[in-house]
């Protein structure tokens, strides 16, 4: 039933897009040694909130549309990638966004047996191994208004050099510009209002957003073990929220050391991420956080082609009740059932169990391809229990939602 409706809806949407855009067609052209390619995704999302809002004026549903096209130009020994990102939202103006996710030149070559790469411009970089949370992932700012999960990121201006040899991979970063985190607005959900006007944002450094941040990561694979050691020195991506109404954002100078470990043994993956961060709260103190756990896969379940993967991860932040993450001491249990059919149909369920409070959160997700270019994603976010004294989840305890997302890729 749903796929049929979705398919019809998608076709109309695609027709509308094609008619409007006229040029929406992923393809490649070659001009001499140059190749120009374009691709991207357009999606429509509706969210319905299941409970009456905590604050007056908050909406009970919203509708958003996003577009993320990429133009890729390849030339001898290099390339240029450009990916703008557009989001409109009918209910929350703070969710409206124009961002440049990627706009960088890449050059690469080799020195003897090692390879080098240089990226200049705006790019995205992911560090981490865990599923529930990636405390080591620090290069890009989080687009929290885009998705409460925090995986959606903003483009980051950078000079990024890479050396890669039999001895491992070394990445060096110069990050000359600070991006401000996005938060849902006063009418938006999930979250409390956070000021994003210039008066509501303060920096520890007098250079403000023009401070030059530095970062480095060394990673290597030794047999079944992948590891990464990283260091970041500069303005924190996560703001300290100053008690005011609406809350103000304070960005302090931090030094963060990170460690990532991943171990593979047959169908088991063991994972750990650990950070030590100094300076976040501006009073010279340090804190640590980690996530440790693993996943185990059962293949060809019940003699079908489906796989079942079970996850368990323990998150902790040593600031505990003063932590700025809801995962201050939480277990994450999840199961992912992938049918491995032509539509890549996947069911996921996750339970986040707070070990300090009685708060329990359920996440359900369903993914399916509707055609070669259309996909459906359904999501449920629901508190099974909310602890009135839990400081991290109190403000969003009313924000259970279901979301339906239809995407068209070209």
């Amino acid at each position: 039933m749903i796929p049929a409706v979705a398919r019809r809806c998608c076709l109309q949407f695609i027709t509308a897009v094609l008619a409007a855009g006229g040029v929406v067609d992923g393809h490649a052209d070659a001009i001499g040694d140059w190749t120009i390619e374009q691709w991207g995704t357009i999606s429509l999302e509706g969210r319905v909130f299941l409970n009456s809002p905590k604050r007056e004026g908050q909406h009970s549903s919203d509708f958003s549309a996003t577009a993320k096209p990429t133009v890729y130009i390849e030339f001898p020994q290099g390339s240029f990638t450009f990916t703008p990102y557009f989001r409109i939202d009918n209910a929350d103006e703070k969710r409206r966004l124009i961002d440049i996710q990627e706009a960088y030149f890449l050059q690469f070559g080799s020195i003897g047996d090692s390879a080098w790469e240089l990226r200049l411009g705006i790019d995205q970089v992911f560090w981490g191994v865990a599923e529930s949370n990636n405390p080591v992932n620090i290069i890009n700012q989080t687009d929290l208004a885009g998705h409460p999960g925090g995986e959606q990121k903003l483009g980051q201006p950078m000079i990024h050099g890479t050396l890669n040899g039999d001895w491992g991979i070394l990445d060096l970063f110069v990050l000359p510009y600070h991006r401000v985190r996005t938060f849902p607005g006063e009418a938006g959900r999930l979250g409390v209002p956070v000021r994003s006007d210039s008066g509501g944002i303060t920096y520890e450094t007098s250079r403000g957003k023009r401070n030059i941040d530095l970062a480095a990561r060394y990673g290597h694979t030794v047999g079944p073990l992948d590891f990464g050691i990283s260091y970041f020195k500069g303005t924190s991506r996560e703001p300290a929220l100053l008690p005011d109404f609406p809350l103000k954002q304070q960005y302090n100078l931090i030094r963060q050391t990170g460690l990532e470990l991943q171990f593979v043994q047959d169908a088991f993956l063991g994972k750990a991420e650990l950070i030590r961060r100094r300076g976040f709260s501006g009073d010279g103190t340090s804190h640590s956080a980690f996530v440790v756990g693993g996943e185990y896969s059962f293949y060809s379940v019940l003699e079908t082609s489906a796989d079942l993967t079970l996850y368990a991860e323990w998150n902790q932040d040593d600031r505990r009740e003063k932590a700025t993450t809801p995962l201050q001491n939480d277990m994450f249990y999840a199961a992912r059932y992938a049918l491995n059919d032509v539509d890549d149909t996947t069911f996921s369920a996750a339970l986040i169990d707070d070990l300090d409070y009685s708060t329990q959160t359920l996440l359900l997700e369903f993914d399916k391809r509707l055609s070669d270019s259309a996909q459906l994603n359904l999501e449920l976010f629901k508190f099974l229990d909310t602890d009135p004294v839990d400081p991290q989840t109190g403000p969003i305890s009313q924000d259970d939602y279901v979301a339906i997302n239809l995407s068209y890729s070209f």
Binding site: G26, E37, W39, T41, Y72, E74, S79, T81, L106, F108, S110, D113, S114, A115, E117, Q124, V125, F126, G128, V129, E151, T162, N164, G165, I169, G219, T221, D226, Q262, V264, D266, A267, F268, L269, S297, Y299, S300, E303, S305, D307, N340, D341, V342, D343, D344, R369, D372, S373, Q375, S407, S409, F410
Partner: protein
């Protein structure tokens, strides 16, 4: 299911060690020395033992030669492909179900030969469009499980994944991971079965049994032509030894005057009635591929 296949493996190992020279020799040796001590034994009995030993010997030689011949075919075929250095190719997969509905997948493939170890391979997806730029990096290993990484372009994430899912379906097709890539000689035991005519050629039929755990098959029957050792057909038998799938290759072309590759492959699943056709195009054996392309940084550069 696991227990059953483990039992099968153990049974098979027993069979191998029985026909293997070590055990058979020691049995023969003890019989002979016993005969030597008891000189009083009638000549008739000695003659009988000799005959028995002879039968043992012939039986063993026959078994060995089938295993050795099978192994030799695999070695020769592997050696015939040695020195290809690297190649790139475009692959179209046509996934068909019993009702004849068709789904298309487009991939680019890059393979780098590694001297003294398994090959390194890159699979890059172009279609369906939602997985455009998704890539899989495989570092083949001669004696142990392969290393596998997946690149997810939307998250810019390189993820190490388990390679123990060798029997799992590759992107929903009728090909399992273990059906792809060059088979390492050491990962199977062999029994040459027969030579027989196949079309206008003569084919040798070789039985392969996996030595590593995690395979979805109890055995494979491989038809290679005796001239060029090209694989024309493979029958796959599942863990319960029933005929699961058949692969047929065709439209072979020789590259750089040496390396044969099929232009078209078809895998039929006899249980589900589904099939997957592979169409290989734009083979390029002259590509200059750097081994650093087959690394995690190489993965991040993929478009």
């Amino acid at each position: 299911m696991q227990t059953r296949s483990e039992t099968k493996r153990v049974m098979w190992q027993k069979k191998v060690s029985f026909s293997g020279s070590g055990t058979a020799c020691s049995i023969r040796g003890s019989v002979a020395s016993a005969a030597g001590i008891h000189r009083v034994w009638p000549t008739m009995l000695s003659a009988g033992l000799l005959v028995l030993t002879g039968i043992f010997f012939i039986a063993e030689a026959g078994a060995q030669s089938a295993a050795e011949k099978g192994m030799q075919i695999a070695r020769d075929a592997y050696a015939a492909d040695d020195g290809f250095e690297n190649f790139t190719a475009d692959l179209t997969m046509l996934l068909r179900n019993k009702q004849g509905q068709e789904h298309k997948r487009n991939l680019r493939i890059k393979v780098l030969e590694v001297k003294g170890d398994g090959d390194k391979s890159l699979f890059i997806f172009d279609n369906p469009r939602d997985v455009k730029g998704t890539a899989m990096l495989i570092h083949g290993r001669r004696d142990q499980a392969d290393d596998l990484w997946l690149y997810l372009p939307a998250l810019k994430r390189v993820k190490r994944i388990s390679s123990s899912n060798r029997s799992g379906s590759f992107v929903g097709s009728e090909f399992a991971y273990e059906d792809l890539g060059r088979s390492e000689v050491k990962k199977f035991t062999y029994t040459w079965l027969r030579d027989e005519p196949c079309g206008s050629m003569s084919c040798t039929v070789n039985e392969l049994r996996p030595t590593q755990k995690g395979s979805g098959y109890s055995r494979q029957l491989v038809w290679r032509d005796t001239d060029e050792l090209r694989i024309w057909k493979i029958e796959y038998y599942d863990r319960k030894n029933s005929h699961l799938k058949t692969l047929t290759n065709g439209d072979f072309k020789q590259h750089r005057g040496k390396f044969w590759r099929p232009g078209q492959s078809n895998m039929v699943n006899h249980v589900t009635g589904k099939s997957t056709e592979l169409v290989w195009e734009n083979y390029d054996f002259g590509a200059r591929l750097n081994k650093q392309e087959f690394s995690q940084t190489g993965l991040r550069r993929i478009r």
